[in-house]
């Protein structure tokens, strides 16, 4: 069954929805990267919660006009309008008042959502029975979806992806180097607006699949996960797109296999699993790599400091330093330096003296700037330069 789902053999609707979710995931990963790099990831949370009153009002309007309140395009249009209003409120509050953006986001998301709940209860009381289905916008539901809705979602997914790819370049520039972007004559405000518009479009398309509470995850998690793998903006965008697409595809497919596997949560959990993998295992920025690196670094610092203390005949205070030095065979159990320890200490001291000399030589400024207390000088200079340096070092003071 799961295999059938992943290979798109569960019927036309499920297939369309799965493809739509994958396209949406890619677009969300790409767009989310720019929001994340601009430190505005949670703006999307305000956008998504602000869709609720629009969904309800659109339903009421469509019913009032004598149509079917549940027509998906109408509901999505309504949600886009109210999300846009929410976005305007966030921007107005954070620009015009002293409130920070996070407060504006929180205010807008809670108030719009509260208003949405009020509207939903109004609908409940005015036309009992016919409103069934609006609640599915909270968490998303693809089970029993109509053919038309599936087409809307697949098309929407393709459209937002296309837009995200078209806007990739200006968004990269605006997120990464806004000053340079302005210098090239770019209208930052318009790019930002486009970025928010894109986030809004993704939210709207994702409403039916992921639901408005969780759609924000699709914009944030892939981007954050991708950040662990690379430091290049282009790379983050690419990886975020891939992770988002994979989450959308796997989540939508899996949820089609059983009745009580809601699509939105499954997609989000798939993305979160990928995030955890990235957090732990990514080389470079991943946690395991970082912990190992830090331990190694701490060891180097302590050993070096211990050696310098040895060389000057100073006592070593830090228990950790002593322990590390004992383990490295540099001091005996009673704290007295071994043969090896004395030799290494002398070398460390010589290195420090060379560095000090290097720093006072204006010609060696670039090399001197590399000083971090740890790097042996012979890894930076040629043997000839070392000899030259040593000539100026003068008589060696005994440690």
């Amino acid at each position: 069954m799961i295999w059938d789902a992943l290979t798109l053999q569960l019927g036309y609707n499920a297939t369309l929805v799965t493809i739509g979710a994958a396209l949406l995931g890619i677009a969300a990963g790409v767009t989310g990267t720019f929001l994340f790099l601009g430190k505005r990831a949670l703006v999307s949370d305000a956008i998504s919660h602000a869709t609720l009153p629009g969904v309800g009002l659109a339903f009421m309007v469509m019913v009032a006009l004598g149509g079917d309140g549940r027509a998906l395009p109408g509901l999505l249009a309504g949600s886009a309008l109210s999300a846009g209003a929410g976005l305007v409120c966030v921007s107005w509050l954070s620009r015009r008042t002293r409130l920070a953006e996070d407060a504006a986001i929180g205010a807008v998301l809670s108030v719009f959502f509260g208003l949405g709940v009020v509207v939903l209860t109004v609908i409940q009381s005015m036309s009992a029975g016919r409103q069934a289905g609006l609640e599915t916008f909270l968490l998303g539901a693809t089970a029993g979806m109509l053919w038309n809705d599936a087409v809307v979602i697949a098309t929407g997914g393709a459209l937002v992806l296309l837009l995200a790819l078209l806007l990739r370049r200006p968004m990269t520039l605006a997120a990464f180097d806004p000053e340079y972007a302005v210098g090239t004559g770019m209208n930052l405000r318009r790019v930002e607006l486009a970025m928010m518009g894109l986030a809004l479009a993704i939210t709207v398309v994702g409403l039916k699949i992921v639901g408005l509470i969780l759609i924000v995850a699709l914009l944030i998690i892939p981007a954050v996960a991708a950040r662990f793998w690379t430091n290049r903006v282009g790379g983050v965008v690419l990886i975020a797109g891939a992770l988002g697409g994979a989450s959308g595809y796997a989540g939508a497919a899996l949820s089609a296999t059983a009745p009580n596997l809601p699509t939105g949560p499954i997609i989000v959990l798939a993305a979160f699993a990928l995030f955890l993998l990235s957090l732990l295992a990514a080389p470079g920025r991943g946690v395991l790599a970082a912990v190992l690196r830090h331990l190694r670094f701490q060891r180097r610092v302590h050993l070096r400091q211990g050696l310098l203390a040895l060389a000057q005949g100073q006592p070593i205070y830090e228990p950790l330093t002593l322990r590390l030095m004992r383990r490295a065979g540099l001091v005996r159990a009673d704290g007295v330096a071994t043969e090896k320890g004395r030799a290494r200490a002398a070398k460390a001291l010589l290195d420090e003296r060379r560095w000090a000399l290097l720093r006072s030589d204006p010609r060696q400024e670039t090399a001197a700037a590399r000083y971090d207390g740890l790097t042996p000088l012979d890894t930076l200079l040629t043997p000839d330069q070392i000899v030259e340096l040593d000539r100026n070092l003068g008589p060696r003071t005994a440690p």
Binding site: Q312, R359, D372, G373, L374
Partner: protein
């Protein structure tokens, strides 16, 4: 050369016994990520003196101060005040952070900020009495800000904010004052007011240690200099530690000749 001040490996011989020094650090290493900002620094600050911590940008001046105060955690090293562990002596220390380190949009008036300096006396629930307010006002008038007590802090100029921070430190009534770039981006009047207060403190036998970025004023303002560039380069009276060879070593080619001339 200055071998008498700093042995060539950067370890500095204590000018006086560590036990008398209001602030001494041993083997202090602080690292943000993989590059030490401060590496294996020994420093012993002389009591009753005004010492400038100087060094190029990114040389670890503020980091040294913050680690000495326990605001950032060092990778290794120990800090003593008057020969005792830092945490037992906190009540004798007052700190003036960089002005830019806080959000001045915080809803508080000038007097509220100065009263924060009386926290040790007031405790959790102690009532603010008339004498506390008097102390706060006296501290404000020492920095020439007595007319601003009820002003919202966001409405102050940079120099005024700096003076408020100094008044807060004065309210602590400490024996050792640690200041992080007190003269950065302030007006001439503020600079004069601050240096006047600091010199008064020295007259009263208190110790002042300040991170300082303007080399040209070091000889005028300070008695001693501590020169740092990740490692400690030198410490001593200005006439001995604040000399071209040492500054050259700390600043490399980045030090303009004019500044050395003015300094030496």
């Amino acid at each position: 050369m200055h071998l008498e001040l700093a042995s060539r490996d950067g370890h500095i011989e204590p000018a006086e016994g560590i036990s008398q020094s209001p602030l001494a650090v041993r083997g202090l290493t602080v690292s943000y990520g993989e590059k030490p900002a401060v590496f294996s620094v020994d420093a012993t600050f002389a009591p009753g003196a005004m010492t400038a911590i100087v060094g190029p940008n990114g040389a670890g001046k503020s980091t040294l101060l913050k680690a000495a105060l326990g605001i950032v955690q060092p990778l290794s090293g120990r800090v003593t005040c008057w020969g005792r562990p830092l945490h037992t002596q906190r009540h004798r220390l007052a700190y003036v952070p960089q002005r830019a380190s806080v959000d001045w949009d915080f809803p508080a008036r000038v007097r509220d900020v100065v009263l924060m300096g009386l926290y040790r006396e007031l405790g959790l629930l102690g009532r603010v009495r008339a004498r506390h307010v008097e102390t706060a006002m006296a501290c404000l008038s020492r920095v020439g800000m007595e007319g601003f007590a009820d002003r919202q802090i966001g409405q102050l100029s940079g120099g005024q904010q700096q003076r408020v921070f100094l008044a807060r430190a004065l309210a602590e009534g400490a024996d050792l004052y640690l200041l992080d770039e007190p003269f950065a981006g302030v007006d001439v009047a503020t600079e004069k007011a601050i240096i006047g207060v600091l010199k008064d403190l020295r007259e009263q036998g208190r110790t002042v240690v300040a991170v300082h970025h303007d080399l040209s004023t070091v000889p005028d303002y300070f008695d001693r200099a501590f020169v740092i560039n990740t490692r400690a380069i030198a410490e001593g009276p200005v006439a001995q530690a604040f000399v071209p060879e040492i500054l050259q070593e700390a600043y490399g080619g980045r030090l303009a000749g004019a500044q050395i001339g003015a300094a030496g």
